[in-house]
């Protein structure tokens, strides 16, 4: 304790000045954290929206003498017949599960654009450049791609949500990845929720202070800090390799899947990953239940399990639910374990069940980000928005449910 406030020489005004400077520094470090968050959000928005320079493979004026949007359905069909091979048309109809005759003109128009006109994005510009340097961009595009049209484009659009994976950025979408993430979450929750809540009840209600239970508790606390990639290695060794008969569905007579790199393996790996977090959260919820509730129940002659099932669990449920949703949002954003368990970003078929190959949202973001072209950055940013919206809505649901359930409780 030999600081300056103990020395008689120090003068008060000076000390207060120093205090003020440091207060500003402490405030600044908080502000830098907030600033980082703001910059993060702005970066993403900057890449999702912006100007694009688009060049059509086939000049629209050669197809019809009026703008394509104004054409009747038969005229559009005629263009399709003339420009697209019969085989290709058949494939489109088979894959889409429709015939050209039954769909409305709007969808035929979309087909003409995708199959005949084939617009390709030659250049893509970030939002802020698009807003403030529009003239420069237009000059640059006019020089580099004379026949390109420039317009404002949102990479996050309806097509992005409903299309599956494609190697062309403006046709690629996240539907397959969304379904993949959804399947993984369902398996994760189905596996981790009962076991996690069970373990929490055991540790809080039944466990004596014996060494076995102390080991379990310490072990759970330590598992919560293990890096996620180590869980990925575990998943690769156990679920993908050792139990491949089980995770590929061969043991149940499912055909067509050769390795254990399936939704099931990924879900179980994620389940192990979130289990410690879920247990710790559930333990806190169970611990918060007042003891008087238990004693009243025992006093009326209930057994221990009756007390837990009818009184402790309902009272702890909002807390357990919130903890589970927090664990789930961790699982949705995790990428590293999925890379090891074998998510492939090239999948464009929706998962059909637990024994399907899969891709997931964070995997798509990783894959698109690691490509050099600017257009892939754009769709990576759009996918990030989708991911963040999913996470935010999950958290909102958690908060709302907790508030509702807590209000109802006596």
């Amino acid at each position: 304790m030999s600081g300056y406030f103990s020395t008689p020489k120090s003068n008060l005004a000076m000390r207060h000045r120093v205090g003020g400077v440091w207060k500003a520094i402490f405030f600044l470090s908080t502000a830098i954290g907030l600033l980082a968050l703001a910059v993060l959000v702005i970066t993403i928005l900057d890449d999702v929206f912006g100007l694009v320079a688009v060049v059509d493979k086939v000049d629209r004026t050669t197809l019809a003498d009026r703008p394509l949007e104004d054409l009747e359905k038969d005229e559009l069909l005629a263009i399709l017949d003339k420009k697209v091979s019969v085989n290709r048309l058949r494939t489109i109809q088979r894959n889409g599960g429709f015939t050209l005759d039954e769909i409305p003109a709007g969808e035929v128009y979309e087909l003409v654009i995708a199959e005949v006109v084939k617009p390709t994005v030659e250049e893509s510009y970030p939002l802020f450049d698009s807003l403030f340097k529009r003239a420069e961009i237009e000059a640059e595009v006019a020089q580099k791609h004379p026949d390109a049209t420039i317009y404002f484009y949102s990479w996050l659009n309806q097509r992005f949500l409903t299309n599956s994976m494609s190697t062309t950025p403006q046709l690629a979408g996240v539907r397959t990845a969304l379904f993949g993430s959804l399947w993984i979450i369902v398996i994760t929750v189905a596996f981790a929720f009962p076991i996690g809540v069970g373990a929490a009840i055991y540790l809080e209600e039944y466990a004596s202070r014996s060494w076995v239970n102390r080991v379990i508790q310490t072990n759970i606390d330590n598992l919560a800090g293990v890096p996620s990639i180590v869980y990925g290695i575990l998943g690769l060794a156990i679920f993908v390799r050792t139990l491949s008969a089980l995770t590929s569905g061969k043991a149940f007579g499912v055909e067509g899947v050769e390795t254990g790199r399936t939704v099931l393996a990924a879900g179980l790996t994620m389940g192990l990953l979130v289990l410690p977090i879920l247990i710790i959260n559930a333990q806190e919820a169970v611990r918060a239940v007042p003891n008087s509730l238990r004693q009243a129940s025992y006093g009326l002659g209930a057994t221990q399990w009756q007390t837990i099932w009818h009184h402790v669990l309902p009272s702890a449920f909002p807390g357990i639910l919130t903890g589970t949703i927090l664990a789930v949002s961790r699982a949705i954003g995790e990428t590293a374990p999925l890379i090891l368990v074998g998510a492939s970003s090239l999948i464009n078929k929706d998962p059909q069940g637990i024994f399907s190959y899969f891709t997931a949202l964070p995997i798509q973001i990783y894959n698109w980000t690691s490509r050099p072209q600017a257009e892939f950055r754009n769709i990576a940013a759009a996918a990030i928005i989708v991911l963040l919206v999913v996470l935010l809505s999950l958290n909102a649901v958690a908060i709302l449910t907790r508030n509702r359930l807590t209000r109802r409780a006596p």
């Binding site: 993060l40 039944y206 890096p227 990925g232 060794a237 410690p276 090891l340 990783y366």
Partner: protein, 319 residues
């Protein structure tokens, strides 16, 4: 005769009493025992997980070290890492991990501690109730998003400041962004430690004429030091195990360098890259994942255990 009737009645009464006692005795309840057994099994799943991790990592690492040309000494002392052509020196990967971790902590420790001191010692309760959750949003952002951030914002920024010597993939960018990711962890753990320091200590310091800063820096921070160190160590452990940021922004390809502007692959980055393709089982590549995984697991476990010990100590003192 009469005597006998009395006797019988007594016997009847005794048996009735026994019946009541019998009824009140704790009966073995099969259902309850079964449920308790199941719940114990749930708790034990975590033990199986640990055993699984240790067993699989150990088994495959053993296979790795039994391969021709691999020795533990070479593994830990050589600086070239190319398993496919028989170079097994993990130091280049460790070096890159330590560098990114260093940069991350250079950001996270001062900023995290500064923010924690501000929140716990200066901020009004209202300001704290707004600032803290917003800072914690940073902790909830998936790490792959930070990887995107490092590649699209931090690296161009560094290139604008330091010029062309900064490579597209570099450890500095990955490390700095990792620091932003760890900041909320360091901040909220340190803040917990600072808030746990009893008011009486602060009031005693004010009573001796200390200013707010002097109280915070010379009284509260030293009292919470073990908790702050714990936060720091946990932050290091998080940085060592972080994968997506370094996989995206630090570069692929092992490189033994101390230049922060150069690309260098970390341990986690290597694991992610090798397993990203369809890695075939029982190849040097496959087995090396497990050896590095074991290294990663033991080092982070050690750091976590130390951190927990420190937290437990400051809890014992003040609670």
């Amino acid at each position: 005769m009469e005597n006998q009737i009395v006797k019988q009645q007594v016997i009847r009464m005794e048996s009735a009493e026994q019946l009541v006692i019998h009824k009140l005795r704790k009966r073995p309840r099969l259902g309850e025992t079964f449920i308790q057994g199941f719940l114990f099994f749930c708790g034990a799943v975590s033990i199986f997980t640990t055993i699984g991790i240790v067993f699989e990592l150990g088994k495959e690492s053993l296979l790795f070290f039994q391969m021709p040309g691999v020795t533990l000494v070479e593994f830990l002392t050589k600086t070239e890492w190319q398993p496919t052509i028989g170079k097994f020196g993990v130091l280049s990967l460790i070096n890159a991990t330590l560098m990114t971790t260093l940069f991350a902590m250079l950001v996270a420790l001062p900023l995290g501690l500064g923010a924690a001191i501000y929140l716990s010692e200066y901020a009004t309760p209202r300001a704290r109730s707004i600032l803290k959750p917003v800072l914690e949003v940073l902790a909830g952002v998936p790490t792959v998003v930070y990887g995107f951030f490092a590649l699209t914002t931090m690296t161009p920024l560094l290139r604008a400041i330091f010029g062309e010597q900064v490579q597209v993939y570099n450890t500095l960018s990955a490390g700095l962004v990792m620091g932003i990711m760890i900041l909320p962890l360091v901040c909220s753990m340190s803040e917990d430690a600072l808030s746990a320091v009893p008011r009486s200590l602060r009031e005693a310091a004010y009573g001796l004429g200390a200013t707010r800063l002097e109280t915070a820096v010379q009284v509260v921070v030293p009292a919470a030091l073990s908790g702050i160190i714990a936060a720091f160590i946990l932050g290091v452990s998080r940085a060592v195990g972080e994968t997506m940021i370094v996989a995206l922004a630090a570069g692929s390809g092992p490189n033994f360098t101390f230049d922060p502007f150069q690309a260098a692959e970390t341990m986690t980055g290597y694991i992610a890259r090798i397993s990203g393709g369809d890695v075939s089982y029982d190849t040097p590549d496959y087995n090396s994942i497990f050896a590095i995984g074991l290294l990663l697991f033991t080092s982070t476990l050690l750091l976590n255990v130390i951190s927990r010990r420190l937290v437990a100590r400051f809890r014992e003192v003040y609670e």
